[in-house]
């Protein structure tokens, strides 16, 4: 085990974590403001990736692809909010789960219909190809480093948006008291659409960014969605800060667990069983982390106390 490898894995964990944050932020906002559990958030991630792949394929521009990803996901989000989600705010969580599960079926199969079952390819932009040498002589992919930077920048921007802007004030007011915000004369249904579209745009952005290092295919959103759920359960539902902390914890646990657990078991097991046990435990590590947090704090690290 070298320090270089450790540093590299920490960076990988950070990169994974900030991408999870982009997903988790939208989920936690939508839950905090509207009280809605949205399983179809993963579909918005997928839509972003497909839009980016299609636009990049047509124009060759990665920036245009990112813009397309965000606008396509935001547009899909706004449409879905307007025609389906809006009817679910007053329903119980069971109806929300079911309706958004139905949306996943529609989005996934609809996308398969349009684009076929084969994965699409999204290229890393030339300017971000290849490794960069960090202080200490660590070689690290330039693109992944850019992802970390983008993720942290979005986190900071989102923090400012919520703390400083009119929209942010309304979002915070909406989290506390729906009647109050309506009484203040804010058009609540527009606010909800905007919040939903904002969350969707972040998911679309994440889908496009990650799509360039993984393949763009139907069903890519759901594993990320479930991890994002773990993130917001750990962080506390409704808390942006919790989502960031939770996302980084999950990203680092997953990445470092995959490396260290097999080595750890190698200390006292034979190599092949160490690899097996280690891999099994590593694949479950974040869920174990979640269980531990839950026993300690049932409403998450930054969640409101019951």
């Amino acid at each position: 085990m070298t320090a270089t490898l450790l540093a590299e894995q920490i960076l990988n964990g950070l990169q994974f974590g900030v991408m999870l944050f982009l997903m988790a932020a939208g989920l936690t906002l939508v839950f905090g403001v509207m009280g809605l559990i949205n399983l179809a958030h993963g579909s918005l991630y997928m839509i972003g990736a497909f839009a980016a792949a299609a636009v990049a394929g047509a124009t060759g521009s990665f920036l245009l692809a990112l813009a397309a990803a965000m606008s396509a996901a935001a547009a899909a989000g706004a449409l879905v909010e307007r025609f389906v989600i809006r009817r679910l705010y007053d329903r119980d969580h069971l109806d929300q789960v079911l309706a958004t599960f139905a949306l996943i079926l529609v989005f996934s199969e609809g996308t398969r219909w349009l684009f076929g079952s084969f994965p699409l390819h999204l290229d890393i932009p030339p300017a971000l190809k290849g490794p960069v040498t960090l202080p200490g002589g660590i070689e690290y992919p330039r693109y992944r480093l850019a992802l970390i930077a983008i993720g942290l920048a979005v986190a900071a921007g989102l923090g400012l948006l919520i703390a400083r802007t009119r929209l942010g004030i309304r979002i915070r007011a909406g989290e506390n008291d729906r009647e109050m915000i309506a009484a203040l004369g804010v058009d609540i249904s527009t606010l909800y659409t905007v919040v939903f579209a904002l969350g969707a745009a972040l998911a679309g952005l994440a889908g496009a960014l990650v799509g360039a290092i993984q393949s763009v295919q139907v069903g890519m959103g759901e594993p990320v969605l479930i991890l994002a759920f773990v993130v917001i359960v750990i962080g506390g539902i409704g808390s942006i800060r919790g989502a960031l902390v939770g996302a980084l914890l999950v990203g680092l646990t997953d990445t470092l667990g995959g490396i260290f657990l097999p080595r750890f078991f190698g200390l006292f097991l034979d190599p092949s069983s160490a690899a097996n046990v280690g891999a099994s435990l590593a694949s479950m590590a974040i869920y174990i982390l979640m269980a531990v947090v839950l026993v300690w704090r049932p409403t998450g690290l930054y969640g409101a106390r019951a």
Partner: protein, 323 residues
């Protein structure tokens, strides 16, 4: 139509269908019906937690899969003649369904106890997400469990046996599965009328009330969750036997979602709701799947319509909103 009449029609259909299919020499349709019956059993299990207990579990595929793997592992060791373990005592594999069922029920009940203990510390959305996460945890565990096929799962050459039956004959296996479903439904019906059912029902509506009469609602819910997991686990063992195959996909979160769909499509907290839902789902899958490869789009649209406009599900729609 009253709910009792709807149930009677469903029951008659379940009995008559294989007789008709047998006469028409359509063994495939019997297998399809067996699939519906087994999925119905899994959903009946979920309905106890979700419908009566009010616990929206998005991780019930875990119990379904544990039942499936109980069957797969025991049968795998039986067909390879390798004991399951040799120390401190020898455990051999088995091809006997009753033994497999017992193991499946106990294993999934224990898993439900552990998951329930942790998850019931929370309520609402947290509960949904945590059951989902535990389901994923076991899903990824089976994927990394290379000893039993890992991602590819494992096949069993010959369906397991039940004393006095030839389980390889579709209609006999169907009859066996239907008998189990009816037995569990009878237990379910008794449970709902028994003190436990009444208390569980009240705990869903007003936990505070249940506490103030001296009953801990959390324990009621945990017991219901364990029972629910055990039934779904039993269904998992049958499902694996039907396909002679078990893989991580039985534990996938889509499976959990589909189980919820069966319950809602049919009608929550209705005895035959999950049965109606599972039959409808399998029928749609068969009919729409024949028309278009993308039948999930139509299923999704139908589900949306049911959730948005037809609350109470199929049985609720037919029987009216009395409960």
């Amino acid at each position: 139509m009253r709910e009792g009449a709807v149930n009677a029609v469903l029951l008659a259909g379940l009995v008559a269908f294989p007789i008709w299919a047998q006469a028409a020499d359509e063994p495939f349709l019997i297998t399809l019906a067996t699939r519906a019956v087994i999925l119905a059993l899994a959903a009946v299990g979920l309905n106890i937690a979700l419908g009566w207990g009010g616990m929206v579990s998005l991780g019930h595929a875990a119990f379904f899969g544990i039942g499936g793997y109980a069957m797969g592992i025991l049968a795998f060791h039986a067909q390879t003649y390798a004991p399951l373990m040799e120390w401190p005592f020898v455990i051999e594999g088995t091809k006997s369904m009753p033994v497999i069922w017992l193991v499946a029920v106990v294993a999934s009940a224990l898993a439900a106890l552990g998951i329930g203990l942790l998850s019931l510390r929370t309520t609402g959305v947290y509960f949904i997400m945590i059951t989902l996460a535990f389901g994923q945890m076991l899903y990824y565990f089976t994927i990394s469990w290379t000893a039993y096929g890992g991602e590819d799962g494992m096949s069993i050459y010959v369906r397991n046996g039940f004393p006095g039956l030839n389980t390889l004959v579709p209609v006999e296996f169907y009859g066996l599965c239907l008998a189990i479903l009816l037995l569990v439904l009878a237990l379910n019906a008794a449970l709902v009328r028994a003190p436990f059912g009444l208390a569980l029902n009240a705990a869903r509506q007003s936990p505070e009330r249940v506490r103030t009469v001296g009953i801990d609602p959390g324990r009621l819910q945990l017991a219901a969750f364990v029972l629910s997991g055990a039934i779904t686990g039993l269904a998992g063992a049958l499902f694996a036997d039907l396909n002679r195959f078990v893989s991580p996909s039985m534990l996938s979160w889509q499976m959990s979602g589909e189980l919820i769909v069966f319950v809602i499509l049919g009608g929550t907290a209705r005895l035959f709701g999950p049965v109606a839902g599972a039959i409808l789902f399998v029928a749609l899958e068969h009919l729409l799947g024949g028309v278009s490869d993308y039948w999930h789009v139509f299923l999704g649209a139908l589900l949306l319509l049911v959730v948005l406009f037809a609350r109470g599900g199929l049985v609720g729609f037919l029987a009216g909103r009395v409960r």
